[in-house]
């Protein structure tokens, strides 16, 4: 504590410079916070995907897209290790404005067996099956389209895929359900049979994706291969993949997101380490007579070393705190007011307390690295020469 007035005096010798250094550090840590947040978000999304759930899709998609016969559900359920199967059928279109794209994931009665943590209770699922035109909105989706239970919601698919030629489905919002942890976006759940019955006979009885729950996550791969082997010579060959592997493949399909985010964050810190080292070095150089006086009155070199480290640590830690705070605030900007690309970048940035911990840890490392050269200089101070002004 007795060093605190000295630290304060050192920082306040040139308040403008200290302020500028803090601002530069804040910018670097804000960038780091955003990038680490984006990385954490991506990793979280991947890791929340389960290895004990498989996605089964058509191996050779044809056009117009047909999907897998729903009859496969029972056969998949009979494969060793499979504990439940649910089917989804997706409809993509727009709501009122052709630029406002929307997708409805229509699910069947088995969905909670294949996707037990789906954001639906058993009774909500029963209600959905009893109310064919009903849909459930996730909170995110409800906020996006500003809907509440009881509202009507239209989805237009052009050109029409309905048997009667009408391009528009009109649904009724049954309730708002929690966001699904595995679904990183707006989720709308509908009734499979309602969608299926609306389609022409040749398109009926098909599912886009089977959600398959398996007993043992470690056997996810093996069961995937069993399913694919089982249907290899059938009229509907399948492609099965554990959910997590599927997510990993998609995340890194064009650019490795971890490489990009961590490199950018690292570059920001690299830029700052020289600035702080330079500022501390200059400060030490200019205060050599002051250090000599302190040593004369009994301060040990170790104490003065701590003084220099603290002088470097204060802007670093302050910058880390403020920068991470800025990143967290930016991540909370309402998604509606951001462009699509900014939404992907900013709203997908998680800043949990762990990010602050990482930032503070890095700030300390940064402070030590910045103080290394000034400490070296301090070690070689000759008290007599310094006092004599030589």
């Amino acid at each position: 504590m007795k060093l605190w007035p000295l630290i304060w005096a050192a920082l306040w010798r040139r308040p403008l410079e200290t302020l500028l250094v803090c601002l530069a550090t804040t910018a670097a840590f804000a960038l780091l916070g955003l990038m680490v947040g984006l990385y954490v978000h991506t990793q979280r999304i991947v890791h929340e995907q389960r290895m004990d759930r498989l996605f089964v899709v058509q191996r050779f998609p044809d056009r117009p897209y047909t999907g897998l016969p729903i009859a496969l559900e029972n056969q998949i359920a009979g494969i060793d290790g499979v504990t439940g199967v649910g089917t989804t059928h997706n409809v993509f279109g727009y709501h009122l404005d052709p630029h406002d794209g929307v997708g409805v994931m229509a699910v069947d009665e088995g969905i909670l067996q294949g996707w037990p943590e789906a954001p639906l209770t058993q009774s909500q699922l029963q209600t959905l099956m009893a109310r064919p035109e009903g849909i459930y909105f996730s909170r995110k989706a409800a906020a996006h389209w500003k809907v509440k239970p009881g509202d009507r919601f239209s989805v237009t698919v052009s050109p029409s895929i309905r048997a009667d030629g009408n391009p528009t489905w009109v649904f009724e919002v049954l309730d708002i359900v929690p966001d699904a942890p595995i679904w990183d976006g707006n989720l709308i759940l509908g009734n499979y049979h309602y969608i299926d019955n609306s389609e022409p006979p040749q398109s009926q009885g098909l599912g886009n994706t089977f959600f398959v729950a398996v007993k043992d996550a470690a056997r996810g791969h093996e069961i995937s291969h069993s399913i694919d082997r089982h249907f290899a010579n059938s009229g509907s060959p399948t492609f099965s993949v554990p959910q997590r592997e599927d997510a990993e493949g998609l995340v890194n399909s064009s650019v490795n997101i971890a490489d990009v985010t961590l490199s950018v964050g690292g570059a920001g810190l690299f830029m700052i380490v020289f600035l702080i080292a330079n500022a501390i070095m200059r400060s030490v150089r200019e205060r050599i007579p002051e250090f000599a006086v302190l040593m004369t009155v009994g301060f040990r070199r170790t104490q003065l070393g701590w003084l220099v480290v603290a002088e470097a640590a204060v802007p670093c830690l302050l910058g880390a705190l403020l920068g991470t705070g800025v990143a967290a605030l930016v991540a909370r900007i309402p998604a509606q007011i951001l462009s699509r690309d900014l939404r992907q970048l900013v709203s997908n940035s998680d800043t949990p307390p762990a990010v602050l911990g990482v930032a503070l840890g890095l700030a300390l490392i940064l402070a030590l690295a910045s103080a290394a050269a000034p400490l070296q200089r301090l070690r070689h101070i000759s008290v007599t020469d310094a006092l004599a002004g030589r």
């Binding site: 830029m271 330079n278 500022a279 200059r282």
Partner: protein, 378 residues
């Protein structure tokens, strides 16, 4: 303001850089980081746009179904294709055959090693390769029409490690890769096979697009007009380059990322530069005061601060850009090849120069406003 004064004061300022090596490095490294990161991210967009540009030839046009302007749609039936081939403006070979090709683009069936939708197979007909003079076989042989055979593009080979002899599992069996090719643009990232055989394998009866070589680029208007005014057709024609450029332009994510990341980094670098330049002015206080006392104009002193900032930023910006170019230019991804054209290097350097101008302003003002008596006494 006499140029001689600016020159003299700037020379003095630059001569002192050696004494301020450490602080000068802060600006150089800061600007290098800004330029390097900015143009590395922008190079993804540049790569995507380059692929789009290389894929398109103004002398070629693509015809799609009016409902789906998409090569993967598969909405053009054989009768429509036959009518399209009658359109004016299509070049013909020596035997009078139109240089046009009905093509199909499919997603390769997912397999271990690549996710669904990341690799495409293009079905081309007999004229498909003649329409594309940039196509060159680089290894093995061409696929034979009617056989289950594929050839692999250079970029797909490098990204997915497909080699001649490897087999792709399709709905009707295994299709061996019998050759490799270079074709420029997005063709490089695809597998090619016979369109008729691929249509049978994917149970399709229609194609996604018709690629035509025009007699000359100016013939497009007449070609397009004939197609759009033909009552038996419901098609859309686009110059091939326009189609791919439009697709490339839709991919704006990395440009936005570059603006956000570059913007935040620039703010950091700006504050860092101002700090360093303030310190530089402070260390030159007595020198500046002496010059002012000798009659040098305040503007000349300010110009010296700008000169120093611009020089350091130029070194940093150019250095950072060149490092990014050495590290990333030409690296492959299936969607694009990282591309750092000279324009990006100029942009990165120019951006750092603009930052330098902005950051030199407050220290230059301080240098100009130094009270002479106090400054001489320091």
């Amino acid at each position: 303001m006499p140029l001689a004064q600016i020159f003299t004061v700037s020379r003095l300022s630059l001569a002192g850089l050696r004494q301020r090596m450490g602080s000068s490095l802060v600006i150089v490294i800061g600007m290098a980081c800004v330029a390097g990161v900015l143009i590395t991210i922008l190079s993804v967009t540049a790569g995507i746009l380059r692929v789009a540009r290389d894929s398109g030839d103004p002398g070629r046009a693509l015809v799609f179904s009016a409902r789906n302007i998409n090569e993967q749609a598969g909405d053009l039936d054989q009768a429509t294709v036959a009518t399209i081939l009658d359109a004016p403006g299509i070049a013909h070979d020596d035997r009078g055959k139109p240089l046009a090709d009905a093509e199909l683009l499919l997603n390769a069936p997912p397999a271990d090693g690549f996710a669904q939708g990341t690799l495409a197979i293009r079905g081309v007909g007999p004229e498909g390769l003649r329409v594309r003079p940039e196509f060159h076989l680089t290894g093995g042989r061409l696929f034979v029409a009617g056989r289950h055979e594929l050839i692999v593009g250079g970029s797909a080979h490098r990204t997915f490690h497909f080699n001649i002899g490897d087999r792709i599992i399709m709905s009707d069996g295994e299709w061996p890769i019998v050759g490799s090719f270079s074709g420029g643009g997005n063709l490089e990232g695809q597998l090619l096979g016979d369109v008729t055989t691929l249509m049978a394998a994917s149970r399709r009866t229609s194609v996604g697009s018709v690629l035509v070589r025009l007699t000359n680029p100016a013939a497009f208007d007449a070609f397009n007009q004939w197609l759009t005014h033909n009552p038996t057709l419901a098609v859309t024609a686009l110059r091939q380059r326009d189609y791919y450029e439009r697709q490339g332009a839709q991919n704006t994510f990395y440009t936005t990322m570059a603006v956000l990341v570059g913007g935040v980094m620039s703010v950091g670098a700006l504050f860092a530069s101002v700090t360093v330049l303030y310190a530089a002015v402070r260390s030159r206080t007595r020198e500046i005061a002496t010059l002012r006392a000798l009659g040098y104009l305040p503007g000349a002193v300010a110009a010296s601060v700008f000169t120093e900032a611009l020089l350091l930023a130029f070194i940093g910006g150019l250095g950072g850009s060149l490092i990014a170019w050495m590290c990333f230019d030409g690296h492959d991804s299936v969607l694009f090849r990282w591309s750092i054209p000279p324009q990006l290097i100029v942009l990165g350097t120019a951006w750092t120069l603009a930052l330098a101008l902005l950051s030199a302003l407050p220290p230059a003002l301080r240098a100009v406003r130094l009270p002479l008596i106090t400054a001489l006494g320091e």
